[in-house]
Amino acid sequence: VRVRVHLFARYREVAGREQVDLEIPEGGTVQSAWSAVVERHPALAQYRPFTLFAVGHDYVEDDHRLKPGDELCLFPPVSGGRDAGPAAGDARR
């Protein structure tokens, strides 16, 4: 199954590219694609716990099966993380 993986923000910088084309086994999942990307760009491995996955315009879980031609997006945490509420900011002071 041929899939295209798009990298954003920090991930794009770390990998030094915006997209990676992959061939994964039939029935391959988002996790299979992640593993294949990390094989080529090992520096991304550390971000696995924070990573969000999307296909099309929807977030998907790592066991989501990829179809031929799917475009998978790898997202760092979206930017609200640290600024979600006044409590988070106040706690730092």
């Binding site: 930017s79 993380g81 600024d83 979600a84």
Partner: protein
């Protein structure tokens, strides 16, 4: 409803313009939220910010937030949500949300819901630039 606006743009945002977009004869109040670039993070002076988005998905997620608002607050008349990307200086607005409603309670609640949900679901990232470095917000170790 088709007048609602959900967009990712790369130009400065205007509160007047977004207020005009939610103007409605049935509205009794308009609430506008403007997220602006702060000059420090945890006491560290910030020089400027850089925003990046997956624009088509971000606009789809903004649209979903608008639909959720309409389901939850029937008194809401119009919703506009615009996120800016690219380089932003201190004090500039990165996001504008405007909600008009028959009564102010709905407008305040829906606007609060919109920004809180945006921060959780919309694929936008920001990089803080300091005098001595830069860091992507939300990722440990930058």
């Amino acid at each position: 409803m088709d007048a609602d606006i959900f967009a990712v743009v790369d130009h400065p945002l205007s509160p007047d313009e977004i207020a005009a977009r939610v103007d409605d004869p049935g509205a009794g109040g308009i609430v506008i939220f403007s997220g602006v670039v702060r000059n420090e993070t945890g006491g560290r002076p910030v020089k400027y910010l850089e925003y990046e988005a997956h624009a088509p998905m971000a606009e789809a997620k903004l649209r979903e937030i608008g639909a959720a608002i309409r389901g939850r607050w029937p008194g809401v008349k119009r919703v506009a949500m615009v996120h800016r990307i690219g380089r932003l200086d201190i004090g500039e607005s990165s996001v504008l949300i405007a909600v008009s409603a028959a009564h102010r309670g709905d407008a305040f609640e829906a606007c609060r819901y919109a920004i809180d949900t945006l921060k959780q679901t919309v694929p936008v990232w920001k990089k803080e630039h300091f005098e001595d470095g830069e860091v992507w917000v939300g990722l440990q170790g930058g």
